[in-house]
């Protein structure tokens, strides 16, 4: 980058059109593109099915993506550092069952205690992932593929084939998800606040920027004194914590929880993150983008039922979305590199 800006300074180009600005521009174009896609879906489906484009259905869409969005925030942190967390679905499921089961066994338990228990469980499981990757130097894909099945197995052991249903848990637990605040369900507020906090953290704090540095150039990040290991550990721990919290909300929202809850959620989460423009090679992408990705996928999901398309299409669409998103990213990167080379040659 240094050579580019030096060269640029000597030409008629103003310095602000350097490479990094260009990268920023591209990610903004990427998010704008997503907004256009979202608008197109809303308009096309809305024209065909008038009930689709109502406030109550739009709230319904946001409600359905809220849990996914919270997990996607954690996944974004991990992916930014050039890692991946495949175990999030199992953590959400485990925390959901443990929290719901707590209220079933002890209906009088303080609501906050249940939330804390779910979060603590998520944090503990995320910590194990973080230790394996950061201290044990196990590649994230292997470590979290292993823990995906280990955590799910522990969930099965803990559940012993039991199920918690809506009638087993107190009303206060169920209202955790649906209680409206200023007319909007609490679940959406939780997701929005978490997204805002982490968006600010990643955008405007020093350690936040260091997540980007690790992912964009691990060697350089180490040379400038960034404690990569610690931050990668933190990313996994936070991903676990957020998944644990999302698990409690899952229990509150769906009420019926068994040991298979949230199976395969990791695919939806990763789809949301990469569709939202978070580069799978790490180093670029925003929380805003990931949220947009989650909303686009949720809107497609929602419109399928309005268009009377079979729900069996969902997983195929998630898979195709991942592939299309990374393909587009690859082409954008290539185009960007060519552009930078041309600029350097001038």
């Amino acid at each position: 980058m240094a050579t580019t800006s030096e060269h640029v300074r000597g030409t008629t180009y103003p310095p602000r059109r350097s490479g990094s600005r260009l990268v920023g521009l591209v990610s903004r174009v990427r998010e704008l593109g997503l907004l256009v896609v979202l608008a197109l879906i809303l308009i096309i489906v809305g024209v065909q099915v008038p009930q689709f484009f109502t406030i109550s259905n739009l709230v319904q869409i946001l409600l359905s993506v809220s849990i996914l969005a919270i997990v996607a925030v954690g996944e974004t942190l991990v992916v930014l550092t050039r890692n991946v967390d495949l175990s999030v679905g199992s953590i959400v499921g485990f925390a959901a069952f443990v929290a719901a089961d707590l209220f079933k066994q002890h209906p009088g338990t303080n609501l906050l205690l249940g939330i804390l228990l779910g979060c603590a469980l998520g944090l503990a499981l995320g910590t194990i992932n973080g230790l394996l990757v950061a201290a044990g130097r196990v590649p994230a894909i292997v470590a979290t593929l292993g823990t995906l099945y280990v955590y799910r197995g522990l969930d099965f052991l803990y559940a012993r084939g039991n199920q918690v249903s809506a009638s087993d848990v107190p009303e206060s637990f169920l209202s955790l998800a649906t209680t409206p605040f200023l007319g909007i369900p609490a679940l959406i507020w939780f997701a929005a606040i978490i997204a805002l906090i982490f968006a600010f953290y990643l955008r405007s704090t020093r350690t936040g920027r260091e997540f980007y540095a690790i992912g964009s150039n691990p060697d350089a990040a180490r040379l400038v004194g960034i404690r990569s290991g610690l931050l990668i550990f933190a990313a996994f721990a936070l991903s676990g914590l957020l998944s644990g919290f999302a698990g409690v909300l899952w229990g509150a929202r769906f009420a019926t929880v068994d040991a298979t809850a949230a199976s395969g959620l990791e695919l939806q989460v990763i789809a949301a993150v990469v569709v939202g423009g978070v580069n799978i090679f790490g180093g670029s992408g925003t929380i805003f983008g990931a949220m947009l990705g989650a909303i686009v996928l949720g809107t497609i999901d929602n419109s399928l039922s309005f268009l009377k398309v079979s729900q069996f299409w969902l997983q195929a669409i998630d898979g195709a979305a991942i592939l299309i998103a990374v393909t587009i990213d690859a082409f954008i990167t290539r185009w960007l590199q060519r552009l930078l080379i041309i600029r350097r040659q001038r």
Binding site: V84, L132, G136, R137, V138, P139, I141, V142, A143, L145, G146, T147, L148, Y149, V150, R152, G153, L154, F156, L157, A259, L267, I270, A271, V274, I280, F281, S310, F312, W313, L314, Q315, A316, I317, D318, G319, A320, I322, L323, V326, T327, A330, F331
Partner: protein, 333 residues
């Protein structure tokens, strides 16, 4: 004694696997009196043969520095296609042919995205894991096809006449020999190792890295489809959720077999030993009434340990050698 020590120092990982296998056999024998019977061995082999087949190309792919997470989904898709095409009244040869062709196409898609666009195989095959499984659900939904002819299902559960050796195991042994010769005694094998050790150097040495990887992904798709046909014949049922999660066992087998996740290192001997370790372990736990999801705790832990263990050993070796160097230099001073 001397010979044994020589073997141990030359093949430390394989020795470890032999020890693990012996431990598993002792454990299995303690858990159930039926574990060490020929009939149970036959069952164990039958139960594990699809995973064993898929582990062969997976070994090649991981040694070449890539990974294929989509194998279980290709298996599921092939199984569904077998069911649907048979149900539509197609002859058996065409049913099998279509499944294999789709397996090749699936591998081609994986390989093309990885080699032509330079995308990481981890993400591509995670995407196709969802896509292929999703397509299986789109085609068959929650239905099942199970009206297969005896000739087809017999291959799945039949044994070589007069023995307890399943036909599918014979197929595996033949393929395993072919893969072993290819990897350890042919130029293709040398190219796979070279690619995994240093992609750039391999390219400068004149190896068509991209074509090689493309072929490996196609091979993986083909074998996964073959495994899908065998699986369908064995359980005599084509369902969209067939073999969900099999990729865990396949990848665990390969990494526990001593294949380096970063590519370039590993042997098929290790992988085959590790196949028996995981196969016997699952079988023993199954005999002890441990459910599949709980068995996954053990297999998942083994997966993590197979990478974590060597890392820790290496770290200790580095620390020890540093200490020795420090001691020597202080002596000299």
């Amino acid at each position: 004694m001397k010979h044994i020590w020589k073997f141990v120092s030359a093949w430390p990982w394989e020795t470890l696997l032999v020890v693990l296998l012996l431990l598993t056999i002792v454990l299995g024998n303690a858990l159930s009196p039926y574990f060490l019977t020929p009939f149970n061995f036959s069952l164990m082999v039958e139960d594990f043969v699809e995973k064993a087949l898929m582990a062969l190309p997976m070994t090649f792919i991981i040694i070449a520095g890539e990974i294929d997470l989509s194998v279980a989904s290709v298996l599921g898709l092939a199984s569904v296609l077998v069911g649907v095409t048979w149900h539509a009244g197609m002859p058996l040869w065409l049913v099998i042919g279509i499944a294999l062709v789709v397996g090749v196409a699936a591998g081609l898609l994986n390989g093309a995205l990885v080699t032509r666009l330079g995308l990481p195989s981890l993400v591509v095959t995670l995407g196709t894991l969802a896509l292929f499984r999703g397509l299986a659900f789109v085609i068959l939904g929650d239905q099942a096809v199970s009206d297969f002819p005896g000739a087809f299902t017999n291959f799945g559960i039949g044994d070589v006449p007069g023995t307890l050796i399943p036909w599918s195991f014979v197929l595996f042994v033949l393929l395993a020999l072919l893969f072993m010769v290819t990897l350890h005694w042919s130029w293709i094998g040398r190219q796979i190792y070279a690619t995994g050790l240093n992609k750039e150097a391999a390219r400068f040495a004149g190896i068509g890295v991209r074509r090689l990887k493309l072929l490996l992904f196609i091979l993986s798709g083909l074998i996964a489809a073959l495994a899908g046909i065998i699986f369908t014949a064995r359980i005599s049922s084509a369902r969209a959720d067939n073999a969900i999660g099999f990729e865990l066992d396949v990848i665990t087998v390969v990494l526990l077999g001593g294949v380096n996740i970063f590519g370039g290192r590993g042997t098929l001997v290790g992988v085959i030993l590790s196949l028996f370790v995981i196969g016997a372990l699952r079988n023993a736990l199954g005999l002890a009434d441990v459910s599949g999801d709980v068995q996954n705790i053990v297999v998942g832990t083994l997966l993590v340990l197979s990478v974590l263990g060597p890392n820790i050993v290496q770290r200790i070796q580095v620390v020890l050698s540093r200490r020795r160097l420090a001691a020597e230099s202080s002596k000299q001073a």
